[in-house]
């Protein structure tokens, strides 16, 4: 699914050049639930941005579903983001004043295929995150946990193979966090590949595999004991 080979990335911060990634190599198989852990400044966000085609590595190769996207142009990268990748952000990034349903439909705007059944697909995505009853609410009328579930539904609408979650529970209380992690867990069971970035050991513990990033290098790669999702509805 993902093959990363010797990824490096540095950028300027004022006069200093920061080496965020110093040669990162790993692979992720289809259907894996991987947590990337590290302190702030360890390079985990940079790595996620590269995996999400929001950023490009200086050196190294990045293959997604067998396609080398290290040097993809804007059109190719955008199309891959739209079709293959679903993003979940710490700050949710929902459009205010726009209903949950319309927020979920947003990626369809940039899809190449026609989406005459867009509303139906959005409803289904909202069902997956158990939020059908809030479809017509705007974000300000939703709790933080609900907003993040809308964001997950949005990430799911184009049925992406890969879901990238950047501190998805960072802005949530414990109970909402558990709900979000359960949803991600279930998606993984259903065969989606999930990469989750966090600095929280407990959150990372819900994944199948843990990559630890320190100072731009991978320092640990562990398989975790299986932890099935709690029954739906508890969240």
């Amino acid at each position: 699914m993902i093959e990363a080979e010797g990824l490096t990335r540095s950028y300027r911060k004022g006069a200093v050049v920061v080496e965020a990634l110093k040669g990162v190599t790993f692979g992720i198989r289809q259907g894996e639930f991987v947590a990337i852990m590290g302190r702030s400044g360890s390079g985990k966000s940079t790595l996620l941005n590269i995996l999400g085609l929001l950023d490009r590595p200086d050196r190294g190769r990045y293959r997604l579903q067998g396609v080398d996207l290290s040097c993809a142009g804007d059109d190719e990268a955008s199309a891959a983001r739209n079709r293959t990748i679903g993003f979940v952000f710490q700050q949710f990034h929902l459009l205010e004043r726009v209903s949950a349903l319309r927020n979920v439909m947003l990626p369809l705007l940039y899809s190449e295929e026609d989406a005459d059944d867009g509303a139906a697909r959005a409803e289904r995505a909202l069902q997956t995150v158990e939020l059908s009853h809030r479809a017509q609410h705007v974000p300000s009328e939703l709790s933080g946990g609900e907003q993040q579930r809308v964001a997950i539904a949005r990430a799911l609408i184009n049925e992406p193979a890969l879901i990238l979650a950047d501190e998805p529970t960072g802005n949530l209380d414990a109970q909402s966090s558990a709900g979000i992690l359960d949803i991600l867990r279930r998606l993984a069971e259903a065969g989606r590949t999930i990469v989750l970035v966090t600095h929280d050991r407990e959150v990372a513990a819900r994944a199948d595999r843990l990559l630890v990033l320190e100072d731009g290098r991978i320092t640990a790669d562990d398989t975790l004991p299986s932890n099935p999702p709690r029954p739906a509805g508890v969240a």
Binding site: L54, D55, S78, R81, H93, L106, L109, D114
Partner: protein, 412 residues
């Protein structure tokens, strides 16, 4: 396939842009208000200017079309003292006939005399202008009968004491009485009123063309003024394009007939309607230039307003732009969205200004004393220019939005 998909995106993006604009109604309204007021002002100005043009043409028509007027010149002073007769007395009725005979560009010519007179009826009197001319002169000067009739050639030859009254004179003397068939006195001479002239309004010089009484030329010369000479010749050209050349030929003919030697002043003055029209048009075109300047200014200010609002919008929505890029928007998609928004803004402002301007111009034309022509073409041009402006000025904020790096935009 891909193209078709893109077009569908355009429609969806349009809807989205409208939603975003509707989400900030006050800002949207403020940003387009400059354009709105500008376009409306231009439309009203064009309406006024076209109205003035129409009024001018109507007045020209009322004077008589394709008209030259030859007037006897003021008499030259002798030893610094004015003469008893204030004008040159050499112009004769035969000169008018000669003009038609000799100049093919002249369709018709008619001699005329005029003087200020006092008109009496039943103890009332009013000062007005006496015009004595031939039936041909009536035709050239567009004088018709509203009630009663005009005098005919037979009466003209017979020096009949018949008169056609202008509306202003009728109002002064005959309150609520039909003047046709009554007898008035012009000076001491009694006249029968045979008709009332069709109102003509004011001439381009502002003189009231209805404040006059019209009698046959011969009657005026023999019975009222007692003069052998005439004051004016009305000459009608075959077409307005001939007026300049006709004027030159009339000069030539009259100089020859009046035996004017080279270097001496001509004893006549020629008024050319075309020149009059040009002068008036000059004023009108100054007004048009002003309208055009206002239009340019309005577009520039409107454009600045829209650019400013769009730049604010791009800055404020940086995160949204980052999100859209993450969800699969290409740089092109982002650029398109902002260009669309800018175009919608400008077209909306221009459209509202168009409607506002048309409503104001239309209402003023219907209600007020102003001469206004509702300028549909200017309105459409204003709208089109606004939309194009939006398209053009949207490019700057749109490419700024498109240049944003998604990672940084999301962090903003």
């Amino acid at each position: 396939m891909r193209r078709q998909g893109r077009r569908r995106h355009l429609a969806r993006g349009l809807l989205l842009s409208l939603q975003m604009l509707a989400a900030h109604p006050l800002r949207t309204a403020l940003s387009v208000s400059g354009l709105l007021i500008g376009v409306a002002a231009v439309i009203v100005m064009v309406a006024l200017s076209e109205g003035a043009e129409r009024r001018l043409l109507q007045r020209m028509q009322a004077m008589g079309t394709n008209l030259l007027v030859v007037n006897a010149a003021p008499a030259p002073r002798v030893a610094g003292r004015p003469r008893q007769v204030p004008i040159v007395t050499t112009l004769r009725a035969a000169d008018a006939a000669a003009i038609v005979d000799e100049i093919t560009l002249a369709r018709a010519a008619a001699p005329a005399v005029s003087r200020s007179v006092v008109v009496h009826w039943e103890g009332l009197n009013t000062t007005t202008t006496l015009l004595g001319t031939t039936t041909g002169g009536l035709r050239i000067r567009n004088i018709g009968a509203r009630s009663g009739r005009l005098f005919d050639d037979h009466e003209a030859d017979a020096q009949a004491r018949v008169v056609v009254l202008g509306r202003t004179v009728v109002r002064a003397l005959f309150a609520g009485v039909d003047p046709v068939g009554r007898f008035i006195r012009i000076g001491q001479v009694p006249f029968e009123v045979v008709g009332v002239a069709r109102p003509l309004g004011t001439d381009p010089g502002g003189a009231d063309m209805d404040d006059r009484v019209v009698i046959p030329l011969a009657t005026a010369m023999r019975r009222v003024l007692n003069v052998p000479y005439i004051h004016s010749i009305f000459v009608q050209a075959r077409s307005s394009a001939d007026l300049g050349e006709l004027e030159r030929q009339v000069h030539e003919t009259l100089r020859r007939r009046l035996d004017v030697r080279a270097g001496t002043p001509e004893p006549f003055l020629i008024q050319n309607q075309a020149v009059l029209l040009q002068t008036e048009r000059g004023t009108a075109s100054a007004m048009n230039r002003l309208a055009a300047s206002v239009a340019m200014l309005a577009l520039v200010l409107g454009g600045i307003g829209i650019v400013a609002v769009m730049l604010i919008s791009v800055r404020e929505r940086t995160r949204e732009i980052g999100l859209r890029r993450a969800l699969g928007a290409t740089r092109r998609d982002i650029r398109l969205q902002f260009v669309l928004e800018s175009t919608i803004l400008a077209a909306g402002g221009g459209g509202a200004g168009m409607v506002g301007g048309l409503v104001v111009a239309g209402a003023a034309a219907a209600a007020g004393p102003w001469d206004l022509v509702v300028p549909w073409s200017a309105a459409c041009a204003g709208f089109a220019a606004s939309a194009f402006l939006g398209l053009a000025v949207g490019a700057v904020p749109a490419s700024r939005a498109a240049r944003l790096e998604p990672v940084e935009a999301l962090r903003a």
